[in-house]
């Protein structure tokens, strides 16, 4: 093998521009408010000169800083120690080394700026408790590609040397003839936009109404002391039912559509031109308008898989897959890979490719009915709090309104919590833990048993008599917690531990 990248080298020369511009952008963002202030206010010539001079000196300094940072940013591969080495720092020197076997993923990332300049970011995702991701921000396409190839190769060769099983698994699951490709069409994107961030619209209404109300009330309080009289008058003027109803309806509907529009745009930017491709040993994902990311997923890295859909999307045959890969953070959202707009068949294909085993039926558990009571009590707490607060500040003539709102809340919460409770289920099959939850957004979370890291069983003292436990399954991609379920699960816990302990496959 040729020893590519074995000598310390710097990034593409265009990197200077990238560093300079991104630093400049940071400062502009930090002092943006001041800048805008000056522009609007206008300043006298004398001060303007000084400001311009200052800005000029600052830009020259920033340029020097960028050049130094660029020249001191060096990376190479140390083949003798099996590690990737990165040096950087302007005033201090930081030296990072990543052993090959800690490299999780190597992928490209491009921001809009990088696309304009014509460079690529290469990101190295690492595992372990020091888990940081490292990115080399300015590489030419060729360099980036060859470095990615070399790194993936060494990372792989290393793990295959120590773990012979890997080859077998690969042969078992991936047949070249199985290779397939999936693209998201603009139409699907539109469908997604109209259906997926459904609650975002509602959320927007809430925030909007609250902030408007707050501003109005502040204003009124300052303007005149007869605030309550004002409100009463206002209510009287608009209290003809039809008018009030129409007004509210119009406001709600328009804000709802605004919310839909915003989520549509968001989805277009995020998932534009999504391409999912299965190769012989990995799943390649490419997407994004603003930041174009390319990710290559190996089955081994997958720790937790989640399939999400809602009733409307189900009808349209749209499912979203979220994949958590090994990470040091507990936070699932950061290392989660989202693939929206998949059809049922494609979901099955992805599962088939990513999982070593087939899903077979197993034991299904549901939480005890006490969970429903607990959920009701929890939902009742805000109501109680509102009641107490309202009894102090809400004027008498609004009591009817408050109590009607409370009744609506209760009427919504009791069935909602019931359906939520009913939707919750845990299935333990010979090779998987499968948890289902959610009323509107129906989530199915799947863990391969042999990828479990640990199990926690937790019992509050007041459930001792009823023999109920909370169960938590820990994986390197996040935890799965199932509440208040019978002691019967313990047998399955014993099985899960047994399954992990007899296992010799690499789990990461």
């Amino acid at each position: 093998m040729n020893k590519a990248f074995s000598k310390p080298q710097i990034q593409s020369k265009l990197g200077v521009i990238l560093i300079f511009l991104s630093q400049l952008y940071k400062f502009v963002r930090a002092f943006g408010a001041a800048l805008v202030y000056f522009l609007i206010k206008g300043i006298s010539g004398e001060i303007l000169n000084k400001v311009l001079l200052g800005a000029g000196v600052f830009i020259v300094l920033l340029l020097i800083y960028s050049i130094v940072a660029f020249l001191r940013f060096k990376f190479h591969i140390n083949y003798t120690n099996s590690e990737f080495v990165l040096q950087k720092g302007v005033f201090s020197t930081e030296r990072l080394t990543i052993p090959f076997n800690k490299i999780q993923q190597v992928y490209f990332k491009r921001s809009l700026l990088q696309r304009v300049i014509g460079v690529y970011s290469l990101v190295l995702d690492t595992a372990g408790s020091s888990g940081k991701e490292i990115s080399i921000k300015a590489l030419r396409e060729n360099d980036a590609k060859s470095l990615q190839q070399v790194l993936m190769q060494v990372a792989n060769v290393d793990s295959e040397d120590t773990r012979g099983n890997d080859v077998q698994i690969k042969e078992f699951i991936s047949n070249p003839s199985n290779a397939w490709e999936h693209r998201l069409s603009p139409l699907t994107l539109l469908k997604l936009g109209l259906t997926s961030n459904y609650f975002r619209g509602v959320w927007l209404i809430l925030i909007f109404v609250i902030s408007v109300y707050q501003q109005l009330s502040d204003f009124d309080f300052l303007q005149n002391e007869g605030y309550t009289d004002n409100v009463r008058g206002y209510l009287e003027v608009y209290s003809r039912p039809i008018e009030l109803f129409a007004l509210t309806a119009i406001v709600f509907i328009s804000i709802f559509f605004l919310g839909l529009l915003i989520s549509c745009i968001e989805i277009f930017i995020k998932y534009f031109d999504l391409k999912l491709q299965q190769t012989s040993d990995s799943l390649d994902l490419e997407m994004g308008l603003k930041t174009n990311t390319k990710t290559s997923l190996k089955p081994r890295r997958v720790q937790l898989l989640r399939v999400i859909t809602n009733p409307i999307q189900k009808r349209l045959n749209l499912h979203e897959i979220q994949i958590a890969i090994a990470s040091s953070q507990n936070d699932l959202t950061k290392t989660k890979i989202r693939i929206p707009g998949l059809e049922r068949i494609q979901v099955e294909k992805v599962k088939k490719f990513l999982f070593t085993y087939k899903v077979k039926p197993g034991y299904i558990f549901t939480p005890a009915v006490y969970l429903y009571f607990r959920l009701i009590v929890l939902a009742g707490l805000p109501l109680l709090l509102t009641g107490v607060v309202a009894s102090f500040i809400v004027p008498n003539y609004l009591i009817e309104v408050t109590s009607i709102l409370s009744i609506i809340y209760v009427a919504l919460v009791i069935p909602y919590q019931y359906f939520w409770y009913r939707a919750l289920s845990l299935e333990i099959t010979p090779e998987f833990v499968i948890m289902k939850k959610g009323v509107w957004n129906q989530k199915t979370e799947i863990i391969e048993l042999f990828k479990l890291q640990a199990v926690t069983v937790n019992q509050p003292i007041w459930y001792k008599k009823r023999n109920l436990y909370n169960y938590t399954f820990h994986t390197a991609g996040g935890d799965l917690t199932f509440p208040l379920t019978s002691h019967q699960v313990q047998k399955q816990i014993n099985y899960a531990l047994f399954r992990v302990e007899i296992d010799h496959q690499p789990w990461m």
């Binding site: 595992a127 372990g128 408790s129 120590t162 077998q168 090994a326 040091s328 953070q329 507990n330 010979p430 479990l452 890291q453 640990a454 199990v455 926690t456 069983v457 937790n458 019992q459 509050p460 003292i461 938590t472 820990h474 994986t475 390197a476 996040g478 935890d479 313990q490 047998k491 399955q492 816990i493 014993n494 099985y495 531990l497 047994f498 992990v500 302990e501 296992d503 010799h504 789990w507 990461m508």
Partner: protein
């Protein structure tokens, strides 16, 4: 390779049960250590109350506060006593379990082949009481890592070696 693979059905009822494990309690010195810390805190609080007595003129304030402080500290002592009673670890051939908690009893079980690394640590107070913590790290994040406090340094080292040996066994 495929010939080596067997897949006999597993009789779930015959599997070893984690519920049946007997837990070894941790050293009582851990409780003494926590009691000492609590003692220092309560001493400081009473000094504070004494100083407050000089400046305040509200009747009954000091008495009321004292009762509240005594109640809280008494409760803390009781909780720590129960913690101590409930805390324990258990080693099996293939995994380690750690039990703790009084109001919320929690048992975490980590198979040896999922341990990332293992270490021992002592704080200043631990050194004074001659006890040691065993820290076991997994890739599952803070939720599945365990810290077993109140072990004698020799025992902690022994456990560490034992678990580490298991780790190297598995790698071979």
């Amino acid at each position: 390779m495929e010939n080596q693979f067997t897949n006999a059905p597993v009789d779930i009822d015959s599997l070893p049960e984690y519920q049946e494990m007997t837990y070894t309690p941790v050293s009582i010195k851990r409780m003494y250590k926590v009691f000492l810390v609590l003692g220092i805190i309560s001493l400081l609080m009473f000094v504070g109350l004494y100083l407050l007595r000089e400046v305040t003129e509200v009747r009954g304030l000091i008495l009321g506060l004292s009762i509240v402080v005594i109640l809280i500290i008494g409760l803390l002592y009781f909780f720590q006593f129960m913690f101590q009673k409930n805390m324990g670890y258990a080693l099996r051939e293939h995994d380690i379990a750690f039990k703790r908690g009084f109001l919320f009893e929690k048992i975490t079980i980590i198979p040896f082949n999922r341990i990332q690394h293992i270490s021992t640590s002592e704080s200043m107070l631990d050194k004074f009481f001659k006890i040691s913590n065993l820290n076991i790290f997994t890739a599952g994040g803070s939720g599945s890592d365990i810290d077993i406090p109140g072990l004698s340094p020799e025992l902690a080292a022994k456990l560490k070696n034992k678990v580490a040996n298991h780790l190297s066994d598995i790698d071979e």
